[in-house]
Structure formats: structure tokens, C-alpha cells
Subunit: 213 residues, 2 copies
Amino acid sequence: MKLYSYWRSSAAYRVRIALHLKQLGFETIPVHLLQDGGQQHHADYQLLNPAQLLPVLQDDNLSLNQSLAIIEYLEEVYPEPALLPTDAKGRAEVRALALDIACDIHPLNNLRVLQYLTGPLALNEQQKLAWIQHWLTIGFTALEQRLSLTCGEYCYGNQISLADVCLVPQVYNALRFNLDMQSYPHIHRIYQHCQQLAAFALAAPEQQPDAMI
Amino acid sequence: MKLYSYWRSSAAYRVRIALHLKQLGFETIPVHLLQDGGQQHHADYQLLNPAQLLPVLQDDNLSLNQSLAIIEYLEEVYPEPALLPTDAKGRAEVRALALDIACDIHPLNNLRVLQYLTGPLALNEQQKLAWIQHWLTIGFTALEQRLSLTCGEYCYGNQISLADVCLVPQVYNALRFNLDMQSYPHIHRIYQHCQQLAAFALAAPEQQPDAMI
């Protein structure tokens, strides 16, 4: 399999975690989101993904975008270890936690949005940071409340799930923007717990071949 | 089942379409996003959904947020008619199309975002409309290209799927904001085709008990 990835992309980070949890080998194809005007906008990448976003996973005759669609695909084709519970209620609740992050937090602080804020809208750095913190705070506050009902060692009881796969990159992103995690004890504890696992360590941005530290 | 809904909410609209396609009876509980300071922010609704967003579906002992998690749940518990193909590749491609809308288009033009633009950022109506059109144009341009490879009568061949369930509310939203659909012939044709089906007609915003026309 080939993964088109950027070390700091939250969505690519999710897929890397899932691939490592399932112990699937893959080749990383770096796409630099900032160099050369953004390599995701280059014509050859647009052929792969007209949305000019990461990641894309290629497996046999499949070329797939959208991190959650990719992970659901991996879950169906390579079911072990499972990232979703076996019962419909559990699967639904885990998917909802993952989508709380993937639909309600991450899209608002994505690179292209921040570029629009400081470009066409001409926001200064302080206003940009206020925007980022606003959506992180709203999103994490809701997520913390929800996790208080569902979590054990991980987001959903004591089994790693798709929710943890989404949580860790989002917390990594929040820490980059200096969000104070003291208000989110469940989120922070689960994040730290996941970081101790090999799959999460291998998927970490700083461990990627294209990392610029 | 009970669906907490607002007539113009894209996410609630998706779930209504899925419920009608599967011919499942449900009671609509209106949550008015604008009246009384936004009923989604009231304490009793926050108990149901701390994210203060729509929709929430209640079924037996389940109270579930996130439209795509709800529809995947319906798909598992009430499988007919299927909204996902049977093969892993097809399921993945349909989910990716749905997420193209649910993650990359819809969250950026949601009510709470527009309220932040005109509130804290003090954008005028023209700037707000430019923001809306920017993300719609980027999103629809990519989606149109993708659909040129996948569509038949519907987004994915000739079977209705989760992708159509997401497409129709997004186009409805785009038409509200006067997006010129001439550049998106596949999207527009599929939208018009879906509108002829009873399930889509029943789920339409103007047909809801809380519609204010």
C-alpha cells in the first residue's frame, strides 16, 4: 500500500495510526503542504485527489481519499485488531466520537482555512489564534463531557477504537496551538495513554520520513 | 424513534432522507436554531448533545449524535434498502463521497461558523457570502470531478447511496446561497433526479412540521 501523507496532517496521522495498529506495511509518499506553493495543488496530485487534500491511500486497484473512509475500508478488509465494537450501539457511539472530531473540530482549523483567514480576510496572528482556540475549546468541551460517559482507558471503554485514532492527532494539533489541556482531563489522559503504544509512536509526526524538526 | 431536527439543518435533513428511504417511522422534535438565542444551546438540549448541534436520534436505549454515525447505525440495524454497496471498494468509495461533503464542505458554512464570521470577526454580508461561495466552489469542483468517474443516475452508479443522502442537502444549501450550478452538471442532475423520489420529497425542509416558509 502507498500512503500520500504529510507529517503534520491530522487526517494522514489518523490513517498511519490505523495502519500501524493493524500491522500493515505501507510506503509513505510525502506531499509537502507548504513547499512549492503546496504540493497538494500540483497537477499530478490533483489527478489523485481533486480536492487537493491529504491523505490518499492506494491498495491494489483502489485509490481512496477521506481518512475515515480509508480506515473503515481497512477495518473491513483487514479486520484484526478491530477498531469498532461488534454491537451496533457500540459501533455507532464510536463512530459518533470519531465524527465529533473529524466533522466538528478538525475542518475548521485545517491549513487551507487558516490560509483563508490570514489571506483574503487579512486576520492578524492574534485573531487567527483566537479562531483556532475558539473551535478547539467548543469541540473539546463537548467531547470531554461525552467521554465522561463512555471512556475507560480509551475513548470507548478499555479497547482502542476509531475514536482514539482520531483523538490523538487532534490533541497533537491542539498542543501545537498551546491549548491548555487542564480543562480536559479525560482527553489528556487518553492521549497520554495512547502515546505509550508502539502503533501511535510509529505514526507520530516526528517519526515520519518527511518530518522537519 | 425520535429525531431532534431543524427544517433547514443539512445534517438533520440527511438523517430524514435515510429514515424515509428505509421507511422507518419517527417523531420529529423541532429544535429551533435561531429562536430564543438558539434552542440547541438550552440546558435540556445540552444534556442530549453537549456539542449543541443537530441532529440527535433516539432509538430504544440509544441517543446518538452525528448524522453519518446515525445513518451507519440505521444501515446496520435496518439494512433494507441498502445505502452502501456490498463490496469493500464500493463501500469505501461511497463513504469517501459522503465525507467529502460532511467533512470538507458542510462544516465550513454551518450556522455557528457564519455567526462567528459576522460576530467576533465583524465581516459584512458581502464578505460572508464570499466565504460561503469560496468553500462551496472548491468543494463542488472537486466533487464534480470525482462524480464524473463514479456516477450513473446517482452519485455511485445507478443505486441510491449514502453519497446521495449527503449530496441533496448540500445542494439545497448551495442554492439558498445562490451558487451557480451550471459548472456542476453531474451534481445538479443527480440532485434533480433524487428530488423526484418520495423519500427525498418527504424529507425536504419545506415539508417539515417546523418549516417557516
